[in-house]
């Protein structure tokens, strides 16, 4: 079917470009590294405070990384007016959205996978037995962030002050995701029972579903004004 073909081609293109130049992943990774670096000495932390602010630090760092990485997502498309090509495509625009979305989720997950051990190292965290919980939280939060980020990236690359409009639009919308992720992470760090913070994860899942569906539907209009 055309629809799935288009998704496949777009994801293929993003992955191939990435394999060729490693721009996205390597730059997201180093950016995150530097953010961690700056955080960890800006908040010169004693172990007790770490426990308290760590969830915030983790998610602010990933949030900024997402801004940098996702914001670039559609930049490659404006470069040679590829956005216009997409606009003229005779396929449902949602396919384009899903293709980019899949690529973005992948990139983010890869970066997070490399980064998490570094967090553990830098802040002397003790997380080994809580690994599955972290995996779950990271998964759902990343899907939500990518869903929103992909949409806003497509929207802002077409306006004038794109570099700033992207965070300005994305961050407020992403607040529920941040809160959910921070609270769930805090629960894990405190060693709470899963049931005590699982409602935060449910919240994240609900937002994921809403964001993906709404973005998918609304993308038609982003590419056909």
């Amino acid at each position: 079917m055309h629809f799935f073909n288009t998704i496949r081609w777009i994801a293929w293109k993003d992955l191939l470009s990435e394999v060729r130049n490693r721009e996205n992943i390597s730059s997201m990774f180093f950016f995150a590294l530097i953010v961690i670096f700056i955080f960890s000495f800006s908040f010169s932390l004693d172990p007790r405070t770490v426990q308290e602010v760590m969830p915030g630090i983790i998610w602010v760092a990933f949030g900024f990384t997402a801004i940098i990485g996702l914001g670039k997502s559609f930049l490659a498309e404006v470069h040679n007016d590829c956005m216009e090509y997409f606009q003229m495509l005779p396929v449902p625009k949602g396919a384009i959205y899903l293709g980019k979305f899949i690529g973005n989720v992948l990139f983010m997950l890869i970066v997070e996978t490399i980064l998490f051990p570094l967090f553990v190292l830098f802040f002397n965290l003790d997380v080994l037995e809580k690994f599955p919980q972290f995996l779950l939280i990271f998964g759902v939060a990343t899907v939500g962030l990518s869903a929103l980020g992909t949409l806003f990236s497509a929207l802002t690359v077409q306006v004038r002050a794109r570099e700033v409009m992207f965070p300005i639009l994305l961050l407020p919308m992403a607040v529920p995701i941040f809160i959910g992720a921070v609270e769930a992470t805090r629960g894990v760090f405190n060693g709470d029972a899963f049931a005590l913070y699982s409602h935060w994860i449910q919240l994240l899942v609900v937002f994921d579903v809403i964001f993906v569906i709404v973005s998918f539907w609304i993308f038609e209009f982003i590419l056909d004004f």
Binding site: N5, T6, W9, I10, H79, E84, V91
Partner: protein, 225 residues
């Protein structure tokens, strides 16, 4: 049969009315050339037909289908060669073609792609990343895509710009071939003699008014446009 029909099309940007009730018809198998001074609105008109802008007022039809309501269908038959090259810097020439066609549902064989590239004269650069192409080579690549898509409506902005003389001959060949196959071609250009070799009809946009002239008149006219 009428392929492109514009009815009283107007377009203004902010303060500036660029097109004022322009009407135009191009039949199947016909090549129509648009002339006009800088800033007359030629590009704008083409982009309206390419479904990239919406007209401020007026309407248009492509192959009998409404240009504002039925955009998804229309786009199957359209192709625009404009200022953008629609290329991804990190993909090779062949990969770019595969992507551009694949994403709109085409399945060209390697052999077909090779033939098209050879015909436009960049067969030798098949493996080169598109980042390294010069302006003229990018234009030729766009023509190669057109050869593979064979759109029923071809829109050409600044048709001969940045092509060398061999390139012009090649493009004119292609235009003749498309016209013979029943495609409608609408092009803008500033080059009267080259256009005269292929165009069947011509029009001049000046002060937001489109005036039709014959090819003979166009060639003979003293006035500059």
């Amino acid at each position: 049969m009428v392929a492109i029909r514009g009815i009283a099309l107007s377009k203004s940007f902010h303060y500036h009315q660029v097109l004022n009730e322009i009407s135009l018809e191009v039949k199947e198998g016909e090549c129509y050339a648009l002339f006009g001074p800088n800033g007359a609105g030629k590009t704008t008109l083409l982009r309206i037909f390419a479904t990239l802008h919406r007209p401020s007022s007026g309407r248009f039809e492509i192959l009998g289908r409404d240009g504002l309501g039925d955009r998804a269908k229309i786009r199957e038959d359209l192709f625009l060669i404009g200022h953008g090259s629609y290329l991804y810097d990190d993909l090779s020439v062949v990969e770019n073609i595969q992507f551009a066609l694949g994403v709109r549902g085409g399945h060209p064989t390697d052999h077909e792609i090779k033939l098209a590239l050879d015909r436009v004269g960049i067969g030798a650069f098949r493996k080169l990343k598109s980042r390294h192409l010069s302006a003229g080579m990018k234009k030729r690549l766009s023509i190669a895509k057109t050869l593979l898509i064979r759109p029923k409506i071809l829109l050409l902005d600044e048709a001969y710009a940045s092509l060398d003389e061999r390139g012009v001959v090649m493009l004119n060949d292609c235009i003749r071939e498309f016209a013979k196959e029943g495609s409608a071609i609408l092009m803008t250009t500033h080059d009267r003699s080259r256009t005269a070799e292929v165009a069947h009809r011509a029009g001049v946009i000046q002060q937001s008014v489109l005036q039709e002239i014959t090819i003979q008149e166009m060639l003979a006219a003293d006035a500059l446009f």
